[in-house]
Amino acid sequence: MSRRLRSSLARTSTTGAPEPGRRRTLKALAAGVGTLGGAGTLAGLSGHVQAQSAEPIRIGFQVHRTGIGAAYGRWYDRTTTAAVARINAAGGINGRPVEIVAEDDGTDPKRGAEVIEKFEQRHGCDIAFGTLFSHVVIGSAPRAGELKIPYFVVSEGHHVASGMLNRYTLQPGITDVRSQVQAMAPYVSENLGKKVTMLYADFAFGHDHRDYFSEAIAGQGGEVIAKIPIPPTETSFTKYFPKIPRDTEVIYHVMVGPSVLTFVKEMGEFFGPSAPPIFGFIDSLEAVDIASPGLEFLEDTYFWEGYPRYAQTGPDNVNAFDADYREAVGVDENGASVSDARDVSTYAHMFGCWETLNVIKAGMESADYRGPQDRSKLIEAVEAMSDMPHSLDHPQGAKRFNGKTHQTFGHQHISKVAGGRLDLVHTTSIEDTLYPDEVDYTTRSF
């Protein structure tokens, strides 16, 4: 072997010590690590010192930017931004501004748990907030409980009140499916029919509909004669409709996911002119224009609406706080974005973000929240809440919060499709929606 080749292979000087090049690199590395370490310590120290009044309150916003919940995530984001702008304009919480730290969970339970970890361990958030889809909540809540970070969900799933989750998970801004379907059953049974076929999304939220509506309609002397589950990722729905029994008196539908328009359109194509009475949840048409081609058959059918999409003008139906709320979140009187009439909102759900943030503010002020050391005080302060009157803080309507089950209760609405719009025809009382407690989280330790 030539000497040049040998020496380049050996890469050492004749004395055997590391080459000057390598020594220089090692020195630079050591200096770099030292600087980083020093900077880190300084930052840590300064962070600790800065944890006083000017430091913002960081709310980790677990948002569905992609995945099957993307349409809801877009509107949850806009509503949250508007709610925080209003809170900050009024002086923030305990004199501190609110900062939203948003992370995409991809509407995926596993990623949801990772996002909760990021909020606690990387972003230093005070609380986590904002999740809608039930399977993501169920996947994320245990991690929130382990990390002891308060987790305010805006989900409608019955899992909070069922006792399945933990004392750190609360749902003070939106009502749950069990209370919704319980309030709907009397109206369906008296006005539409007693033999119901249910078409529902095949995951936690849809299972709540299946279980609790079956129970509620049985209590009214009715019966669910067929239950047809449909995966929320489904794109082609015609194959499900032949399973509907001929003697169905009422079709009950609640679908979620990007293809809901296809679902409703194909349902119309299946029935043609001979559709039975239909009672749907507006979830099947959230973010979809009811005047879309193919949806004409929905005329004279009924929808549950968490919050009526179209601004109601009838003397009994006017909501005194709706106009200001609509302006703040950028929605016109038809429920679409003020900057793009084709961008229809998820109006029946997004109010939950607005109201939850106002509850968080009230809770933090009541608990005199200073930092993460006060998290359990915050939860206790929210648990102590009960009646929340109808106001711009709660534009959907008055609420009654149950501190033991961590679930809020409110008015439910039924609308009828007329002339391509949704007109409110019935509003329930809060009492119509109550059910016995299944859990008392206040007896659990932190």
């Binding site: 992609t66 194959k239 032949p242 990007p258 293809s259 328009l261 194509e269 029935f271």
Partner: protein
């Protein structure tokens, strides 16, 4: 619903699946047969076709007030052309550089899949968006029933289809016949078949093999995009819609026989109808399980597929 009408409904649904699948899988079979490479991004070309169809029809409707029919026809022409252009660019920039090496192409096209998917997510967004069909009337279908001892036609509840769905089946047949004519009766088809049969021999005869490869890759992508344009007024355009067609296309190409476009079409009809019937009577998941089992059986007992042929390199 009674069994008879239920079965016909299932077969109709299966026919639409088969029609779109035949187009998509034919594109994949062409690419595999002639280029001898696996294009994992094939489903994304399908998705691109749907997304471009939405873009074309919405732009024409907004800017020129075009009707749904004009928008659809424009999409039918433009979406496959643009998708083919994207595919040919990918062939030039990626596939040619790695020399059409089989393993490297798999990895490269996986990367291409992610690039196309995420680019669409970043521009088109995460929502599903509808495209209006050029025409769509519900057609109630009759069914013979025995009434008082003699046969009479009745119109069972819920038993119907739409004019657009029937059009999709017809259009797919027309395109596949056109493809067959292209392959069998034109010089271009002859060149493609020669390149498929023996690449080096074809080169020796003066056929510009690299250019043929680019053209075939573009044609394969265009067929997938065409299938997507046909199906998008029934479903909607969504950035993740390429996953299912990719899986089903691979299943169909393997069962039909690698390199045989005719075999692929037969397999597409078989798988499409099975999928339709099983998912209507049982569940969509069971339909996918059966399709995957069929592929496993074919790979074990007849690896060259039902109609596959062994060709020299």
């Amino acid at each position: 619903m009674e069994f008879g009408p239920h079965l016909v409904l299932a077969l109709l649904e299966g026919s639409i699946t088969a029609a779109v699948l035949a187009l998509t899988a034919a594109g994949l079979a062409l690419v595999f047969g002639i280029l001898r490479v696996v294009n994992v991004a094939h489903g994304e070309f399908f998705m691109l076709g749907a997304v471009l169809a939405w873009f074309v029809s919405t732009t024409l409707a907004d800017a020129f007030g075009a009707s749904a029919a004009i928008g659809f026809v424009a999409a039918l022409v433009l979406a496959p052309l643009v998708t083919a252009a994207v595919a040919m660019a990918a062939d030039r920039v990626v596939l040619r550089r790695i020399g059409y090496d089989p393993e490297r192409t798999i990895v490269a096209t996986i990367g291409l899949l992610y690039v196309l998917q995420q680019a669409t997510l970043m521009s088109f967004g995460p929502d599903a968006r509808p495209v209006e069909p050029p025409f769509n009337t519900r057609i109630a279908l009759p069914w013979p029933e025995r009434v008082d001892g003699s046969w009479a036609m009745s119109w069972p509840w819920g038993f119907g289809t739409t004019s657009y769905k029937l059009f999709v089946i017809g259009a797919a047949v027309v395109v596949l016949v056109g493809l067959w004519l292209l392959l069998r009766h034109t010089t271009l088809g002859l060149i493609m078949r020669a390149t498929e049969q023996d690449r080096d021999m074809a080169r020796a005869f003066g056929i510009p093999v690299t250019r043929v490869y680019a053209l075939v890759f573009g044609l394969g992508a265009a067929l997938a995009a065409l299938g997507a344009v046909l199906v998008v007024p029934i479903q909607q355009a969504h950035y993740l819609m390429g996953g299912d067609p990719l899986l089903l296309s691979f299943i169909v190409v393997i069962i039909g026989g690698l390199g045989s476009v005719g075999g692929t079409v037969v397999a597409a009809v078989l798988i499409g109808l099975t999928d339709g019937v099983v998912s209507v009577f049982f569940s969509a998941t069971l339909a996918k399980i059966i399709a995957t089992l069929l592929v496993a059986m074919v790979l074990v007992f007849r690896p060259q597929g039902l109609f596959g042929k062994n060709t020299a390199r």
